[in-house]
């Protein structure tokens, strides 16, 4: 495999990690926003507490995957990076607003004790930003496939097709689905949160159905607005799409039977299928009609150095990451 393709694989894997891990965090924010509505109104504060506790130790590490995607893109494909960033100026800037407000609101609520704004305000900001960011990132990703992006075009171009807007919506619904599935398992672990299992199970099933519906509505627009990528999608990505659909239905069945750990796996696999399918269909283009990966790549010697750094870095980071996950799934020791 060439260094160019290797870097593409690294970027896609990091993007998948971001979608699954930070995606679940963002979805947690969405459920925080909706906790006070519907039948589960009484348990709203319990839900928010569970969401907050499950985010605490991991959200910052999960968030780094995005930085990693950005850094790898500009290091490995510098020629395309500037064009991608400027033509996606508006959605990316709004995603950034979401990222900044979300992170700040989370720590201000956790540590602020209402010193600046009342906790509920930070809660709302945190929750709204959690919906804004995946929406904007979904729009950005889909806009890359349309082939309509050029530097110097209107900043509104990324929003001007139903396909990109629906992709943003899909990103929001999928993160909500991941979060609900994730929280089902978390809630089942402790007796004092057990009453939330039913709530999040209902939410997970609802979000799964909603994701499927959005995908169905999106498909015709996909062919209309991003024909190049859409045709490759039905051609070479078909196995991945089928796998994703299968795992989506599988998730529903598994959730129904209350096998929550397995549900996490099938939910993640469904998302990997969709995103992986898109990545395969997008290949070899970065910005359709303007740059292929090969055209945008950095000098070979820079890429080689990057690949070496990647191997060495991952050898340190991945075990640490699993250690983090292991510590926070193990039973609690006495506080000291």
């Amino acid at each position: 495999m060439t260094a160019v393709n290797l870097m593409l694989v690294v970027i896609i894997l990091a993007l998948l990690a971001y979608a699954l891990l930070a995606g679940a965090d963002f979805g947690g924010g969405a459920w925080d926003l909706l906790a006070g509505t519907g039948k589960a109104k009484d348990g709203a504060e319990d839900q928010r507490k569970l969401i907050s506790a499950s985010l605490g130790p991991v959200w910052e590490a999960n968030h780094v995957w995005l930085i990693f995607v950005i850094v790898c893109t500009f290091s490995a494909f510098p020629a395309a990076f500037g064009d991608i960033a400027t033509s996606l100026e508006l959605p990316l800037a709004l995603a950034l607003v979401g990222i900044v407000l979300r992170g700040a609101a989370y720590v201000y609520r956790a540590y602020g004790e209402g010193a600046s704004l009342p906790d509920q305000w930070w809660s709302r900001i945190f929750a709204c930003a959690s919906v804004l960011t995946p929406f904007m990132l979904g729009v950005s990703g889909a806009a890359l496939a349309t082939g309509k992006l050029r530097p110097g075009t209107s900043p509104l171009v990324p929003f001007q097709s139903p396909f990109t807007v629906l992709a943003g919506l899909l990103a929001v619904v999928v993160t909500a689905f991941l979060a609900a599935v994730y929280l089902c398992y978390d809630a089942a672990q402790q007796p004092d949160t057990h009453h939330l299992v039913a709530v999040f199970r209902r939410k997970a099933i609802g979000a799964a159905v909603a994701s499927g519906l959005v995908v169905l509505v999106m498909l015709p627009f996909f062919y209309h607005d991003a024909p190049v990528v859409a045709h490759r999608f039905t051609d070479r990505s078909l196995p991945l799409a089928a796998f994703s659909a299968l795992c989506g239905f599988g998730s529903l069945a598994v959730l129904w039977r209350q096998r929550f750990l397995l549900a996490r796996v099938t939910a993640a696999a469904a998302v990997v299928g969709v995103l992986g399918g898109w990545a395969v269909a997008q290949y070899p283009d970065l910005l359709v009609g303007r740059y292929t990966a090969q055209q945008a790549a950095a000098a070979p010697s820079s890429l080689d150095a990057m690949v070496v750094a990647m191997v060495a870095g991952m050898a340190v980071v991945i075990p640490s990451f699993f250690y983090l996950l292991r510590v926070f799934t193990a039973p609690v020791l006495e506080e000291h």
Binding site: A53, I70, A299
Partner: protein, 459 residues
Amino acid sequence: MSGVDAARIETAFSLSFHILFAVFGVGMPWLLLYTEGRWLKTGDASWYALTRKWARVGAVLFAIGAVSGTVLSFEFGLLWPTFMATYGGAIGLLFTLEAFAFFLEAIFMGLYLYGWKRLTPRAHWLTLWPIAISGTLSTLFIVFANSWMNDPVGIGVSHGRITADPLAIFRSSAGWSEVTHMFVAAMMCTGGAVAAVYACGMLRGRRDRYHRLGLNVGLWTVLGLTPVQMFLGDWSARVVATTQPLKLASMEGVYQTGTHVPLTIGGFYDQHTHKMILGIPVPDGLSMLLGYSPNTKVTGLDTTTVADTPPVAVVHLAFDSMVGCGMLVFAIAGLAALTWWQRRRKGLSPRIPHTKFWLWAAILTGPASAVAMLGGWEVTEGGRQPWIVYGRMLVADAASKSGGLGWSVVVTILIYVGLAVALLLILRKLATGAPPELAAADGEDEPKPVAPQAEEVLA
């Protein structure tokens, strides 16, 4: 506002905001290693209380540093697309390494902040090491990338694309002088801020052991590092004189190239007459500093065109703020050392008396270190103008041509100012003095071993 101006304002603003908080991400873990280590060794409840408090403060500052850092990585593309398209691959390795360092920091930060109940005390203390080391490595990688923009060494071309030899980057003396100067600045800012907070508390009458220990850790960090910083600053100036002579000329407002160049303290540079107004000249000073001889030749701004001249008035002012604040802290350190030595000889305790004078001196070290650090950055960045990569690419050519940047500047400033105000309110609330269970130890200098209280996970 032109696109370049907007891009420059937004970058300057978001970079300063990020640096101001990121320095705590570098400094706090090293201080925590000390305080938590002392607690593990002595079981002293005051050390425990300090550690818990600083961990909370560190968590908030770290999160703000992290999100504002994310903004910067996007801004490279949003504001400087041409720079990234040309040199992104060349400095990419440094940013990739930095991403890994940051990753490690975030992972262990999660373990440290939320691991009080889940790790043994010793394992918990050990998680600080990866945080402190990767925070320091982050400084190293990022500042090396900046120093490469100032002194682009090891540039090559391969298959029509610009490359930078990664090994050559790490051999550049500009890199090492900048990195060490910045790391010590980060430690001094952290120490100064801590000293200022506890000195404020003591001025308000909270003269317990908890405050004394907090003050000591902060004060000794900032005062102890000042002499090191003076040496590193002197080294940096020498490196700048060889790699970027015009930057050095701007720092000192030197127009005429020649020997016997004076060192000017204070004053303003007049861009039209090329003269320093109201400055105090030290005869032959600059020549002596750079070459240890009055006959050392100093390159002046007359060697270049107006278009290639950095904004001298701004750079000189920034340089004087840095040196002025640095000297202030250095003077306090000198006086503190003298007092400490005299009182030690007389057997007096505490070695530095907690008088109003000394507490105010401690408070001063906080803002002075921060102003010096930001002034130093303005010297680095302003003195490089009009280049984004020195001698190779102009800032004006690197910027985005987008028309929407004006809005982006306004929104960035509004959000950041809002977040900074909220943060200050929160930090003020966190500065509530010693926890109540320590109140009994008030006034004694003996450690009071109290069994640590169980607290909330987030406490």
